[in-house]
């Protein structure tokens, strides 16, 4: 995941470096010229006052004079126009990685704000400056309300109920089976409750998964009340001393009002400790829209991104977290039950900005 973005972030750094170097060369040349000018004009007594003001007028900004001054002290000031090209490329790179447009714009604004007017001492490299700006902008966007999932399970009253929501076909049921394995490895028992009473084959699917990982499934007839199934799951867990109830729900499009209302009902009846929103890493701009809708219907605590192995862009991870203000907790990275990884934003950003060489 994120291979494309990683390359592009690297080239953004280089672009800015180039712009700044160019500018440095120009500034050096101009400073020389200016110095010559000053030498010549320093003899007539009236001239020196006028000279600087003319120059600032020419450039219409703090421009040349301040820059000349900056150069004298070994600094170059980064200006808006230096960033225009590199930022455009950066925006395209973010969009190419499926970062949602408004989120991409926010990242750009943040990078721009951090870089413009920034003067670089000759001891730093431009690359470092840019890297810091990118790092901060990305961490700001990705890392929202990250919490220790395992600790929360450990500290919550048992049984802990976790409900999984999301649109059709993103991999909720598979994620539940994986989560059950993940919990098992850490010493927590779990029971699966099939709240998908709608889709054909859903019950068979979860039962087979449960059999593979050796867990109990609570299921009702197709067409039954999903809230009741999950409720039964909780009762079963209480009676049998099971730690965690993993409640599946039918995939639904966020435009289906009836199904979204059903989700609210599950929330009311079961009152889960956590609701996890499942979406796929291959999702594009729409990922944000549906995450919002699901969060509205039944407030989510975090997200799981599946099919992260299918895609090298993964911008959905960046956008969903930012827009819902809920962290991405796990990534699904394959078809095996062990293919569930905890998501660490700091590590991700570090990885994104790591040098290629």
């Amino acid at each position: 995941m994120f291979d494309g973005l990683k390359d592009k972030l690297g080239s953004f750094r280089e672009d800015v470096e180039e712009e700044v170097e160019e500018k440095e060369a120009e500034a050096a040349a101009e400073a020389e010229a200016a110095a010559d000018d000053e030498d010549e004009s320093s003899t007539p007594a009236a001239a020196p006052d006028r000279k600087p003001s003319e120059e600032t007028d020419d450039d219409g900004g703090p421009g040349r004079l301040r820059q000349a001054a900056a150069l004298a002290t070994g600094r170059v000031i980064i200006e808006e126009e230096d960033l225009e090209e590199p930022l455009w490329s950066l925006e395209m790179a973010l969009l190419e990685s499926d970062v949602e447009m408004s989120v991409a714009e926010e990242i750009l604004d943040s990078v721009r704000e951090r870089l413009i007017g920034e003067s670089r001492k000759q001891v730093d490299t431009t690359a470092e400056l840019v890297e810091d700006a990118l790092h901060d902008a990305l961490v700001d966007v990705i890392s929202v309300g990250q919490f220790d999932f395992e600790r929360r399970i450990a500290e919550a009253d048992k049984p802990v109920t976790i409900v999984f929501t999301g649109v059709n076909g993103v991999g909720k049921t598979t994620s539940i089976a994986k989560m059950s394995e993940w919990l098992g490895e850490r010493g927590y028992s779990s029971v699966l409750a099939n709240g998908d009473t709608y889709r054909a084959g859903a019950s068979e699917q979860i039962s087979e998964h449960a059999e593979n990982v050796g867990r109990k499934v609570i299921a009702h007839e197709q067409g039954g009340d999903p809230a009741a199934v999950i409720y039964d799951g909780v009762e079963y867990a209480e009676a049998n001393d099971v730690d965690v109830v993993l409640g599946d729900t039918a995939g639904r499009l966020h435009t289906s009002n009836d199904l979204m209302t059903q989700l609210e009902k599950i929330h009311r009846v079961v009152d889960p400790e956590m609701t996890l929103f499942v979406d796929e890493a291959v999702a594009g701009q729409d990922a944000v829209e549906r995450a919002k809708e699901f969060d509205d219907a039944a407030e989510i605590d975090g997200a799981i991104l599946t099919k992260a192995d299918a895609d090298s862009s993964g911008g959905a991870a960046i956008s969903i977290a930012h827009v819902t203000g809920r962290p991405v907790l796990f990534l699904g990275t394959g078809q095996g039950y062990e293919d569930l990884q905890e998501f660490d934003p700091e590590a991700l950003v570090a990885e994104l900005l790591a040098d290629e060489e």
């Binding site: 889709r199 054909a200 084959g201 068979e204 999702a283 594009g284 701009q285």
Partner: protein
């Protein structure tokens, strides 16, 4: 629906150009930027967006608008043509015996699509069968079997077998007397080499007449790579976009079509087996430009009328396109609409109602609208035949009578009449509309714009 954002934002930009006869470079650049944003937001792949927009920019700057055409119409035409260029025609699906294989990512909706396509062929009078070869995902056999039952088509699968190639071979034998065989495969993604090898083998065994790539409307930039890999492995003849009833714009399909040099075959718009539409490029583009989809609409009207069965059959939906739009037509239309399905889906197809219009409506507008429609029905029930045929002849006294008779108030009756007038005018504009008249229509649609115009469109607005 698909890309309707482009429609609305484009219209916004275009409005600024009203009255201009020449475009300067700045105008064009602004429009191109807007087009780029919209396409990117619709998940069209970045390179494709850049190609498209640079073509549009170049043509807009270099081509002289034909005499009498405003700059705005000229740009619209260019945008339209460039989009048509990418989208191309609908994938040709002959109504004859054939084998179709479906491929795609996990969870893109292949199994549901298989049953839908089977249902579609069954409606066309052919005998389809679905062959399920997914041995990997638990529950896939049961799902496919049930979907095939819902579609009332033949089904072959083997829950105990492990080799998809063998199931495919056995399935073809078992369904020998079916006309159309649809082979469903397990979900896989382009980077799973073993699974890609497997589908190549299934492909060799099945030897399908066409391979369709099933794509979730929400897929992002990854569509390009997925499409390319599947195309390299088995060759893609067409794309089916699923889950278009969500809010995703489906631009990934454009990318896939461009990448595989194929075309779009079907659209999936809901969870039941009937929720499938054949892809129509004209409708797609006009919906895309916010012009509604007349063809789909009249097809739906006809289907709804057919389902209504033997109700009076002296009514021709075409009549209303020919300018004889009476209150009776409106009554029947409302009646048929109730049978056509969710109002907002139908709305999307009505000229001038899709795209931008829909965005401006408050979320609960549809519910209010349903109420209004019921009110209108009651009012029309209180009218005489003469009044229904000739709504313009209704005077103030009659309005009072009708209001009393229907238990509503005069204001609502007036609203209904106003509504009818608006619709009549709108429909009049479509008479004899050919391809070249598109711009003229756009102009007219926009002329009536701005709060009152469309907002007053009564039961639909």
């Amino acid at each position: 629906m698909v890309l309707d954002n482009l429609g609305s934002s484009l219209r916004g930009t275009m409005d600024k150009l009203r009255g201009k006869s020449r475009l300067d470079e700045d105008d064009v650049q602004e429009i191109v930027k807007e087009i780029q944003r919209s396409l990117l937001q619709a998940d069209v792949e970045v390179d494709l967006v850049m190609d498209l927009s640079s073509n549009i920019e170049e043509r807009a700057l270099n081509e002289e608008p034909p005499g009498g055409t405003s700059a705005r119409d000229h740009i619209l035409k260019i945008v339209y043509e460039e989009m048509v260029e990418v989208v191309g025609d609908s994938t040709e699906i002959p109504l004859e015996p054939q084998t179709i294989m479906l491929a795609g990512l996990q969870g893109s909706g292949k199994t549901t699509t298989a049953a839908k396509i089977a249902w579609w062929f069954a409606k066309k009078g052919l005998r389809p069968a679905v062959i399920q070869t997914d041995t990997f995902r638990p529950g896939s056999y049961q799902q496919a079997k049930q979907m095939a039952e819902n579609a009332e088509v033949q089904f072959y699968g083997d829950p105990d077998a492990e080799d998809p190639v063998k199931i495919a071979r056995d399935g073809l034998e078992a369904t020998e007397d079916a006309d159309v065989r649809i082979v469903d495969t397990a979900g896989r993604h382009a980077l799973e080499t073993e699974l890609i090898d497997e589908i190549e083998e299934i492909e060799r065994t099945v030897d399908p007449d066409r391979n369709l790539l099933v794509l979730d409307a929400a897929i992002g930039q990854g569509a390009k790579e997925q499409a390319r890999e599947f195309d390299d492995a088995i060759g893609i003849d067409g794309v089916t976009i699923t889950k278009l009833d969500g809010t995703a714009k489906g631009g990934g399909a454009l990318t896939a079509v461009n990448e595989t040099d194929s075309s779009i075959a079907f659209l999936g718009t809901g969870e039941t087996v009937q929720d499938i539409e054949r892809f129509e490029p004209d409708g797609f583009i006009s919906r895309l430009l916010g012009m509604g989809d007349l063809k789909q609409l009249s097809e739906r009207v006809e289907r709804a009328m057919q389902e209504t069965g033997d109700e009076e059959d002296d009514w021709e939906p075409e009549d209303m396109l020919e300018g004889n739009f009476t209150l009776k037509d409106m009554q029947r239309q409302m009646d048929a609409m109730n049978k056509m399905g969710p109002l907002d889906q139908v709305m999307d197809m009505i000229p001038g109602m899709g795209g931008g219009m829909m965005d401006q409506l408050p979320d609960d507008a549809m519910d209010v609208t349903q109420d209004r429609m019921r009110n209108f029905e009651v009012i029309m029930d209180s009218m005489t035949d003469e009044e229904l045929e000739n709504p313009r002849s209704i005077g103030a006294q009659q309005v009072r009578r009708i209001a009393r008779g229907s238990g509503t108030d005069e204001e609502t009756v007036q609203e209904l009449l106003q509504q009818h007038k608006m619709m009549d005018q709108t429909l009049n504009q479509f008479q004899g509309m050919g391809d070249g008249d598109m711009q003229r229509m756009m102009k007219k649609m926009q002329g009536g714009d701005g709060g009152g115009g469309m907002g007053g469109m009564g039961p639909f607005g």
